[in-house]
């Protein structure tokens, strides 16, 4: 291939993503996030082991099912799947936070300008940042997989296809979370603003479904006046949140795994991809409008 025909953008993406990954790996933040994720996973596994040692027997499915128990139903998760899911949540939150600072930090520090003196454009820059987040998440997953494989051998808890599906889904979730974080980052010039945006949106994404389910518990006949307006508004907001919030995409996929529905699982993967692509394009657009200078 002639030098003129080299994919310059790909070279830039590779170099920048590599630099970013090094920077992430040379920072303690990622290791704290991994440790936190493993702590949660260990806590859950510890409880399973404790329950088996105490009761002699524990029945755990190889995929998520519901079991009738004392007249009600309780979820009976596969032993490795739920700890992985929670560990993935923590890893994904770290990725979102990291992504939400990715662009604004470079702009804030001025290093963005220096990058753009060279063969770097907005597309290569945003994609490099995105790729780095995915790679960082892959590193997190790598630690998780080591942990779970080791724990599986030590504890004899089974690793199933559900676990593998969860791993695949979590990579796409990381895509959603990274794209969302990057989008927030592209909106702001300062790291502080990015972090505030991340916190505000996280609170909104968690609180709207809660408020919505609370208001929906009130019967239709009793809903009048302001309450009716509030209920309608939160209903619209909730619908919006289920499409805007990256957390909703993991939930959608996790539910599909839990239900063992292949169609829902594939659908959730597609939705995650579309969400990621839309937000990444949005980030590039906003980045171009804001410019590279401080």
């Amino acid at each position: 291939m002639k030098k003129q025909q080299r994919p310059y953008r790909a070279i830039a993406i590779t170099a920048m993503a590599r630099r970013e990954l090094r920077s992430t790996l040379f920072n303690v933040g990622i290791y704290i996030a991994i440790a936190l994720g493993l702590c949660v996973a260990s806590f859950l596994l510890y409880n399973y082991v404790g329950s088996i040692q105490e009761n002699g027997v524990l029945v755990l499915p190889s995929s998520f099912t519901y079991t009738r128990y004392l007249g009600g139903t309780i979820p009976s998760p596969e032993p490795m799947q739920v700890p992985l899911k929670w560990a993935v949540y923590i890893g994904a939150i770290y990725i979102t936070l990291s992504a939400s600072m990715a662009i604004s930090r470079e702009r804030d520090q001025g290093t963005l300008e220096v990058l753009f003196y060279g063969p770097v454009d907005s597309v290569s820059f945003v994609i490099a940042k995105f790729v780095e987040q995915i790679l960082a998440f892959a590193v997190i997953l790598f630690f998780y997989v080591l942990y779970f494989v080791f724990m599986s051998r030590v504890s004899n808890f089974a690793l199933s296809m559900g676990f593998v599906k969860m791993l695949l889904l979590s990579l796409l979730l990381a895509g959603c979370m990274a794209a969302f974080g990057m989008f927030l980052s592209s909106l702001s010039r300062k790291v502080k603003t990015s972090v505030i945006l991340f916190l505000v949106f996280t609170i909104i994404f968690i609180s709207v479904p809660l408020v919505h389910s609370f208001l929906m518990a009130i019967p239709q006949d009793e809903v009048k006046g302001a309450l009716s307006i509030a209920r309608q508004t939160t209903s619209y907001l909730n619908t919006l949140v289920t499409w805007v919030s990256p957390f909703a995409y993991l939930d959608r996929g996790a539910t599909a795994i839990e239900l063992g529905s292949v169609a829902e699982f594939v659908k959730s993967l597609l939705f995650s991809l579309v969400y990621t692509i839309i937000l990444t394009i949005g980030s590039i657009g906003i980045f171009n409008r804001k410019g590279v200078r401080r």
């Binding site: 310059y8 630099r19 040379f26 300008e113 220096v114 063969p119 410019g291 200078r293």
Partner: protein, 314 residues
């Protein structure tokens, strides 16, 4: 190497650059001067594609950034006045990253050579956070040169450097120019510009107010020319005859030297030589008094401000 046509940049309330026509030929060390807020950095940013021009055209190496963004960028090296480095990286890591970005061949060898050239090789494995201002600037220069660019754009490269640092940067610029690189340099240290550049453009309030070879620009900066003529047998007649000439504005005598101020319309040196001989005196020597670039710069920018003020009141 660089060509702009009617280049303008307007911000919401101000016009940073107006109808700028600039041509930098290959192999030149081209100085880009102007007071603060003149539009120098904005112009450089437009040249680099970091600011979008409101109107006008830019060509670098005969191509436009709109069509050949990556290939042009890979042939430019830039040093800015601000040292925006990745402080968590070591000098070696930093240069290695940019080496990868520009696909530098024999990367490690070149990094080593550049670090030795800026005398920082022995501190290559230290994080940049611990580097002094001068050291950071040297690393920035090494970064800009690492990929052997055809065009170097230097925005205040000697800012904050000590005299040794300034000397080192000056040497590097000259060396790189001798190796065939074109240099566009913007600086406030006019004495440095005078020592390194062969062509100058002066920008004021967004307008190009002077452009050309360094000597010509300096000449242009002067309204009158002062000639110092050393004469033997200097008599009053000689002084009177010279004073009577219409282009002579003043004549002073200092021992056997005549200090004559003439207007800039023509070169009157031959006529004056003839006149002195006709009056029976012997011309021993003649030289014209030059201004420094700094004086020229002050003169050009001041007069330009006055002209602008006049324009405004008219």
């Amino acid at each position: 190497m660089i060509k702009t046509q009617n280049l303008s940049k307007e911000f919401e309330t101000t016009v940073a650059v107006r109808d700028l026509d600039l041509t930098v030929e290959a192999g030149q060390i081209y100085a880009f001067l102007g007071p603060n807020g003149a539009g120098k950095t904005t112009t450089i940013m437009m040249l680099l594609g970091l600011e979008k021009p409101t109107s006008g055209k830019i060509e670098i190496m005969g191509k436009s950034l709109d069509t050949d963004y990556f290939s042009i960028k890979r042939r430019i090296g830039v040093v800015s006045e601000n040292q925006y480095l990745y402080d968590d990286m070591t000098a070696w890591e930093y240069l290695n990253f940019f080496g990868r970005l520009y696909e530098v061949e024999d990367r490690e060898k070149k990094i080593k050579a550049f670090l030795e050239r800026v005398k920082l090789y022995h501190r290559r494995n230290e994080r940049l956070a611990g580097y002094s201002h001068g050291m950071k600037q040297k690393i920035s220069i090494a970064r800009a040169l690492l990929h052997d660019p055809e065009l170097l754009i230097l925005d205040e490269p000697q800012n904050g450097l000590d005299p040794y640092g300034i000397q080192e940067v000056r040497d590097i610029i000259k060396e790189e120019n001798q190796r065939g690189k074109t240099v566009l340099i913007s600086s406030h240290i006019l004495s440095e510009i005078e020592q390194t550049c062969n062509r100058v453009a002066i920008l004021n309030k967004g307008r190009l107010v002077a452009e050309g070879p360094l000597d010509i620009v300096k000449m242009k900066a002067m309204e009158d020319i002062t000639l110092i003529i050393e004469v033997e047998n200097l008599t009053d007649n000689v002084q009177k005859a010279i004073s009577a000439e219409p282009y002579v504005k003043s004549v002073k005598v200092d021992n056997n030297k005549l200090i004559i101020v003439v207007d800039r319309a023509e070169d009157y040196r031959a006529r004056l030589s003839r006149l002195i001989a006709e009056e029976g005196a012997l011309l021993v020597g003649m030289q014209s008094k030059t201004v420094s670039l700094e004086e020229a710069f002050m003169k050009i920018t001041e007069s330009n401000v006055k002209a602008l003020l006049k324009e405004g009141t008219a």
